[in-house]
């Protein structure tokens, strides 16, 4: 009977909290959206499943050794951790809070104390520290994206870079929105957190994960989920904004065919971009450096094996671990907060403003330059490659069946990737420690 009781008390059912149950339902919903509705399945499947694993009661897959030790609360272990953290109490709740707030050296000491007592890091925690904590996974993905990107349309019409710049306004407007919400006392975001939320408006998954991991790791789960869900919703969010800001005549504008771009230009461009980054904004060097490296491998044409790995096998492997690691942040006590709702709401606002500004900028360019510019390509200035460009193309065809905007929209689309990486670099420079 005694053994039966201990088995029952060690079971998931006995230990299931309301929060964990809610999170499991939310993760099931993410899986449903990914599998049935086809919303960014490549990311939402690993994220949703990682979230399920992270919320299994008592397993502590997403917890560090110290957090697990505190959770199981054996008095002598708690005392050792309290000593490591320099705390004068051994109350688990206080220690749990402290272990998140403390600096790296005290944290390492607490980890060692917990490991001495036989606790070890959970599987997802290890994935997280390797993939995201170190910053590696988003950067490797960026390299793969670089290896898949064709700068041809951008080189043929460099002015489209302005569209990529204008669409980044969504990011900064959202930062202001988040800060405003905290000033009004509705939410409690620091400037760092506001910046990490704003990057959702860049519509670039790896960039937002990278920035969040540096500026606001505690919000990473919500930010990544918001970022990828909105990327999947691009075809729903953008068209109404694009229609509202343009006239039917403008939507029918046909653009001049793009010139062909020589191979030499394509090879030199990533190098020129890297030099500019090195000279002006070294903080964007990790992101844009990997991006340029990937692109150079593709365009140089002499390392096809490496380029092929970067855009296929490596990016897939990284996506698996990135997704699971993001899922590890979907723990009840971190995710189920008013802030998450705020992040979801601000994210979509960021996206909308970015789209709008891109379209308005394209209208302005159409007025100022002699060559016609269809304002519909402006919305592609938010990154979301290549979905945003496809939306521009589709909307253009709707109003003029002979108007193929896809290649024209790819220019602002990749410009948006560069623009959001630059915006990320500015945020990290301005707010990073």
């Amino acid at each position: 009977m005694e053994q039966l009781l201990s088995l029952w008390q060690g079971s998931g059912l006995y230990n299931m909290g309301l929060g964990q149950l809610t999170m499991i339902v939310i993760c099931m919903l993410l899986l449903y959206l990914a599998i049935v509705k086809n919303f960014e399945p490549l990311l939402l499947v690993p994220i949703g499943f990682g979230g399920l694993l992270a919320n299994i009661p008592e397993a502590g897959l997403a917890l560090s050794a110290a957090e697990q030790a505190i959770h199981f609360a054996k008095p002598e272990v708690l005392a050792a951790i309290a000593q490591a953290l320099d705390a004068n109490t051994a109350d688990p709740a206080v220690l749990k809070h402290l272990v998140h707030e403390t600096g790296p050296s005290a944290y390492a000491a607490a980890q060692l104390a917990a490991q001495d007592a036989g606790y070890s890091n959970g599987m997802l925690y290890s994935f997280y520290s390797v993939a995201i904590g170190s910053g590696i996974a988003p950067l490797v993905i960026f390299m793969g994206v670089g290896a898949m990107t064709d700068f041809g349309p951008l080189l043929a019409n460099p002015k489209t870079l302005f569209l990529g710049a204008a669409a980044q306004f969504g990011i900064f407007a959202t930062v202001l929105g988040a800060v405003g919400l905290s000033a009004m006392g509705l939410m409690d975001f620091s400037v760092q957190q506001a910046a990490a939320i704003g990057i959702i408006g860049g519509a670039d998954g790896p960039t937002s994960i990278y920035v969040a991991s540096l500026l606001a790791p505690e919000l990473l789960g919500a930010i990544a989920v918001a970022s990828y869900s909105y990327m999947a919703l691009v075809p729903l969010i953008q068209p109404p904004i694009m229609r509202a800001l343009t006239t039917p005549e403008e939507r029918k504008i046909e653009m001049v065919q793009l010139r062909t771009v020589s191979r030499a230009e394509k090879i030199i461009f990533p190098l020129a971009l890297l030099v500019l980054v090195a000279l002006l904004l070294p903080d964007a060097a990790p992101l844009l450096g990997m991006f340029c490296f990937g692109n150079l491998m593709k365009e140089s044409g002499v390392v096809d094996r490496l380029s092929d790995t970067a855009q296929n096998a490596l990016i897939n492997i990284t996506t698996i671990f990135l997704g699971l690691s993001v899922g590890s942040k979907l723990i009840a006590d971190k995710f189920l907060a008013v802030e998450t709702l705020g992040i979801l709401a601000l994210g979509i606002v960021a996206f909308g403003i970015g789209t709008g500004c891109g379209v308005l900028m394209a209208k302005l360019m159409n007025k100022l330059t002699k060559t016609p510019v269809n304002p519909l390509i402006g919305s592609a200035g938010v990154s979301a490659v290549p979905m945003a460009a496809r939306v521009s193309n589709k909307l253009g065809l709707e109003y003029n069946p002979h108007n193929f905007l896809l290649m024209h929209a790819m220019g602002p689309n990749v410009a948006g990737v560069i623009g959001s990486a630059v915006a990320a670099g500015v945020m990290i420079k301005y707010l990073g420690g």
Binding site: L154, L155, P158, K159, L161, F162, G164, A165, Q168, F169, I171, F172, A173, V175, L176, A178, V179, G180, S182, A183, M184, G185, S190, V191, A194, A195, T260, V261, S262, A264, E265, I268, F269, A272, L273, L276, L280, L281, N393, F404, L406, M407, A415, I418, G419, V422, A423, V426, M427, Y430, L431
Partner: protein
Amino acid sequence: MHSSELISEGINLMLFGMGFVFVFLTLLVFVTGLMSSTVNKLVKPAPEVTNKPAPVSASAAGNQDELIAVMTAAVHKYRSGR
């Protein structure tokens, strides 16, 4: 942090950030333009070489009308496929 301080920090970040993004991408427009024109001046002969075989093969094909019809169809298919 005090709320007005927070707001002013947000506004600073917005002006500074947006300004920088524009400056950077404007510079990139110029650098790209400069790079393209220099490269195209330096490696002018290359596209000529790749262009030449096309007319040769066209005349070799003989039946011009049929060729034009096929090419138009191909171009159309390529464009609508995209």
